[in-house]
């Protein structure tokens, strides 16, 4: 299992810089600008972690999360959104999200959460148990 991360966000500037930061720290990063593109990328290759925006034109983050929870038990999803909608956080955790983070989330800490999610994904993969107990980011 590689340190492969999928960044999904319609903010191209954000994903572009974040992917540079992550790559320099040894992650393999792929970027998707829409929910549809994210689902396509997930079909093509395996990702340990998905960093997912909620509000996007077309298929939104919660739909993608549901899809991942259903068919990719070894992938950990971190929701990262600029818009705190009431109920979204509870709903996301219930659907198996690893973390629900609000933008602007400090980038250093975000990298830490991604690493934790990746370790959780690797552990699950090795145990073959699929989605385990979510690890709190702190």
């Amino acid at each position: 299992m590689t340190r492969q991360v999928l960044l999904v966000d319609d903010e191209a500037e954000f994903t572009s810089i974040l992917s540079k930061v992550l790559r320099r720290r040894g992650f393999t990063v792929r970027v998707a600008g829409t929910g549809e593109a994210a689902l396509e990328a997930l079909r093509e290759s395996a990702f340990a972690v998905v960093v997912l925006d909620v509000k996007m034109p077309g298929i939104d983050g919660l739909h993608v999360l549901a899809e991942v929870s259903r068919s990719l038990p070894d992938t950990r999803v971190i929701l990262l959104t600029g818009h705190l909608a009431p109920g979204d956080e509870e709903q996301s955790i219930a659907k198996g999200a690893f973390a629900y983070l609000l933008k602007p989330y400090p980038t250093e800490q975000l990298v830490g959460v991604i690493e934790m999610a990746q370790r959780a994904a690797e552990a699950a993969y090795e145990l073959g148990t699929g989605a385990g107990t979510p690890v709190e980011p702190y």
Binding site: K20, R24, T81
Partner: protein, 564 residues
């Protein structure tokens, strides 16, 4: 403000006028009716009074004359000529004369007209009455009451004469009635200041002394000398004065008893009553006017206060509507600012990462500079949003300005798109040229932000959610702005209620139900209209039609007070 105070002055004037009309008109009508009623009643009472008086007076005068005639007749029949000559005449004179002096003298006259005996203050003993008119009449009739005549003394008087046949010849007993006494008797009852009673003979000559009607034996001036029965009342103009005459004829002698009073005097009390009535009417009118002024003043003050309260309420509604709109947009604004902030934070991490390697390669240095530039871009993006928000919030005063609707709508869409993006709604625009219009920017903003927010609510959550904002200037000289959505639509039964205050289909706490009501009021204030067309399941179209200038200056009382 000045225009408004003029309006209240006019309102006060109109109210006072109407109230005065309402109070004074019935008063005047009633006054006139009362006057006529009172006048005619008074007239008939006066006539009745005078007639009654004269009826009774006639009786007493007739009784008096009949009594005198009876006394003289009794004397003549009771005594023989010899007895009278012997001294009974003196006694009889004392009896008839009475202490009051009813008669001035008595005389016994022989058939030849000579005085046989005379008792009285004058020297008439040798007079011969053979040629006197009364002598002829008493010889013919036996008993005679004469009219007033001058006689030998040249003094007006009248006589009562009785003929007695005795021993183949006759003699006459004659008494002269005291004119003073008789005049006083006739005019004994005074009525009013000018009322007097007198007697005229059949020729219209005065038979009694009067105070104002004329000298004894002078014509009285009363024209109607034809005998009539009963009592007659008539009004006659004489010598520039108006008199009320009441007349009746005595049976014997044929004299007419007249009561005369100046109309002026007769109707004096009536006139006084009318003057008092008029004075009271005037007082009533003045009182009514004062009352009207007080009532109208209170009413106008009440209306003024109600207007002020309404204006304040409207202002509060506008503020509430704006606050609600800002609240509705806050989530979108936060999202739109949080995104660049997240990008900025990542950029600074990236710069730090690049800077930590030593030495920094040329490639990395370019990357650092590029990232710094990107931070600037993201900051600018935030600034656009915060400034747009400020612009939105600051537009609160109701001042009229030249507005470029195209530009104003563009600015509103910048802010609204932040929310739309979060809701997954695409706002399209098709903003055509509209000439500069005179309007209140804050109100325009509130109208369109409300409508577009509603449209976003209507389509939110739907795939392919779209809102289209279109502006055009039509040949009718009006600006037409349409807000179209492909949302859920409005059921027909709700279409008529959507502009009513507090009508909402949103969940409790989500909508105040004030938005469209405020929009409608604001558009109407600008001289425009808002109409709506909707098909359930297909979408809704709101059309705002505004003139290039409002019909009349929008009242700006609130801002005027706020600035002081």
């Amino acid at each position: 403000m000045k225009r408004q105070s003029d309006q209240y002055t006019a309102m006060f004037g109109a109210l006072v006028g109407r109230l005065i009309l309402v109070t004074v008109l019935p008063l005047v009508v009633m006054g006139i009716a009362n006057f006529y009623l009172f006048y005619s009643l008074n007239r008939s009472i006066v006539v009745e009074q005078h007639a009654n008086f004269l009826r009774h007076h006639k009786e007493s005068i007739e009784t008096f004359l009949a009594g005198l005639v009876g006394q003289v007749s009794t004397l003549a029949n009771q005594y023989s000529l010899a007895e009278l000559e012997a001294g009974n005449l003196e006694r009889a004179y004392q009896v008839i004369r009475q202490p009051a002096g009813v008669i001035t003298d008595v005389g016994l006259i022989g058939a030849d007209g000579r005085h046989l005996k005379y008792i009285g203050p004058y020297d008439l003993a040798n007079r011969n009455y053979r040629d006197a008119e009364w002598f002829a009449r008493v010889v013919a009739d036996g008993v005679y009451v004469s009219d007033v005549f001058l006689g030998f003394r040249g003094v007006p008087h009248f006589v009562i004469a009785v003929k007695r046949t005795e021993g183949g010849t006759f003699w006459i007993l004659r008494a002269t009635v005291n004119t003073e006494y008789f005049s006083r008797l006739v005019d004994a009852t005074r009525i009013g200041r000018t009322g007097e009673t007198f007697i005229v003979n059949s020729a219209g000559l005065l038979q009694t002394k009067t105070r104002a009607a004329g000298e004894l034996l002078a014509p009285s001036g009363y024209p109607d000398l034809l005998p009539h029965s009963g009592i007659r009342v008539r009004r006659i103009e004489q010598g520039g004065k108006s008199y009320l005459y009441t007349t009746t004829w005595l049976e014997s002698p044929r004299w007419m008893l007249i009561f005369r009073q100046e109309s002026h005097d007769v109707y004096g009390p009536l006139r006084q009553a009318v003057v008092i009535g008029l004075a009271m009417c005037t007082l009533g009118v003045l009182g009514g006017a004062a009352l009207a002024a007080v009532v109208a003043g209170a009413q106008v003050r009440y209306i003024k206060r109600a207007d002020r309260e309404k204006e304040a309420l409207t202002q509060r509604l506008l503020v509430a509507g704006k606050t609600a709109a800002v609240g509705e947009m806050s989530a979108g604004l936060a999202h739109e600012i949080n995104n660049p902030l997240a990008t900025i934070d990542t950029l600074q991490t990236w710069i730090r990462d690049l800077g930590q390697t030593s030495p920094v390669t040329d490639e990395d240095r370019l990357e650092i500079l590029d990232s710094a530039a990107k931070i600037g871009e993201q900051v600018y993006r935030c600034k656009t949003i915060t400034q747009g928000l400020l612009k939105f919030a600051r537009k609160s005063d109701a001042r009229l300005e030249q507005v470029d609707l195209q530009v104003a709508l563009g600015e509103m869409l910048t802010i609204l798109r932040t929310r739309a993006r979060v809701e997954g709604v695409a706002i399209e625009d098709d903003l055509g040229y509209v000439p500069p219009m005179l309007a209140c920017p804050a109100h325009l903003q509130q109208i369109f932000v409300n409508l577009i927010n509603n449209a976003i609510d209507a389509v939110g959550g739907k795939p392919d959610a779209r809102v289209l904002v279109r502006s055009r200037f039509w040949e009718d000289g009006m600006a037409h702005v349409e807000v179209l959505d492909n949302g859920c639509g409005i059921p027909a039964e709700n279409l008529s209620s959507i502009f009513l205050p507090f009508f909402t289909t949103k969940a409790v706490g989500k909508g105040t139900g004030l938005g469209l009501a405020i929009c409608y009021g604001l558009a109407r204030d600008l001289g425009g209209t808002i109409t709506v067309e909707s098909t359930v399941g297909e979408g809704t179209a709101f059309a705002v039609v505004l003139p290039l200038r409002p019909p009349e200056p929008v009242t700006t009382g609130e801002t005027g007070e706020a600035s002081s």
